[in-house]
């Protein structure tokens, strides 16, 4: 079976699952961020694969570029939040950031 659309989609689904696993199991805030980046990469593979196989103009690739830009913006803001968290709690363990919990 030659490599087609489904192969890319399955690869993307596996990458998404790994990213999700990192997001929900890791205690460290930076590792959770890495999981989010993995999920965004999986979404990007889907965009580019669909742009290649179904809608053969480049709209999907443009979307992927926008996703990359928003990923950069979110990483910068999230890093600033993590630094603030560290300044207050002297830890970036997400379980300790529970001041809002009742």
């Amino acid at each position: 079976m030659t490599v087609g659309l489904e192969h890319y989609l399955v690869l993307s689904a596996a990458l998404f699952s790994l990213g999700l696993l990192a997001v929900i199991t890791k205690k460290n805030a930076v590792t959770v961020l890495m999981g989010i980046e993995l999920i965004l990469n999986a979404a990007n593979i889907n965009f580019v694969a669909f742009a290649r196989f179904i809608d053969t103009d480049l709209d999907g690739q443009i979307f992927a570029i926008f996703v990359i830009v928003t990923a950069a913006a979110s990483a910068a803001v999230a890093l600033a939040i993590v630094l603030n968290l560290y300044e207050r709690l002297h830890s970036i363990n997400l379980e300790e950031a529970d001041s809002l919990a009742g």
């Binding site: 205690k27 926008f66 950069a72 913006a73 890093l79």
Partner: protein, 166 residues
């Protein structure tokens, strides 16, 4: 199996193995290295999908920008000299079961859907950079400008939040 397929499977295995290393590793610096190789693997996948411009952007922005940013986050928040860089996990077994369930569902959906694949999709490779530049300046001009302002605002906001004593 053609050479193209072999290369695809190599890149896919490389990407998934690096991502798995990132998830499994207890040391956060090892996680970052796994993520680095995973980004490179995804760039290779983009090349196979005939998205050459996107592959270069992936390497420049993700590897050169976002990953360095994350590493700064690691280095600034873990006292490198004293504390070990371990990162714990919680609820590992239920999480693995849930994620495996989600993956199986996604896999079934992908396999059972009849995709509307354009027959001549296997066309020859055409460089995309010129077309993407043209599209960004015509059809996607408004989103392009909005996302530029968003990026500027986010970076200024990040610099403001991260300043000490605000």
């Amino acid at each position: 199996m053609s050479l193209f397929d072999v290369i695809f499977y190599l890149f896919a295995a490389f990407t998934l193995a690096s991502a798995a290393l990132m998830v499994v590793s207890k040391n956060i610096v090892h996680s970052a290295v796994g993520l680095l190789f995973s980004f490179f693997g995804v760039a290779g996948i983009y090349v196979l999908l005939a998205a050459d411009f996107l592959a270069v952007v992936q390497v420049l922005v993700y590897v050169g920008g976002i990953l360095i940013l994350l590493l700064f986050g690691v280095m600034l928040t873990q006292r490198i000299t004293s504390v070990d860089m371990r990162t714990g996990t919680l609820q590992l077994v239920p999480a693995i079961l849930a994620v495996a369930g989600i993956f199986v569902i996604l896999f079934r959906v992908i396999r059972t859907t009849s995709w509307n694949i354009v027959p001549e999709a296997e066309a020859q490779f055409i460089p995309t950079a010129e077309k993407i530049g043209y599209l960004l300046m015509t059809d996607f001009l408004i989103p392009f400008e909005i996302v530029s302002v968003l990026l500027l605002a986010a970076l200024i906001g990040a610099a403001f939040i991260a300043r000490k004593g605000t």
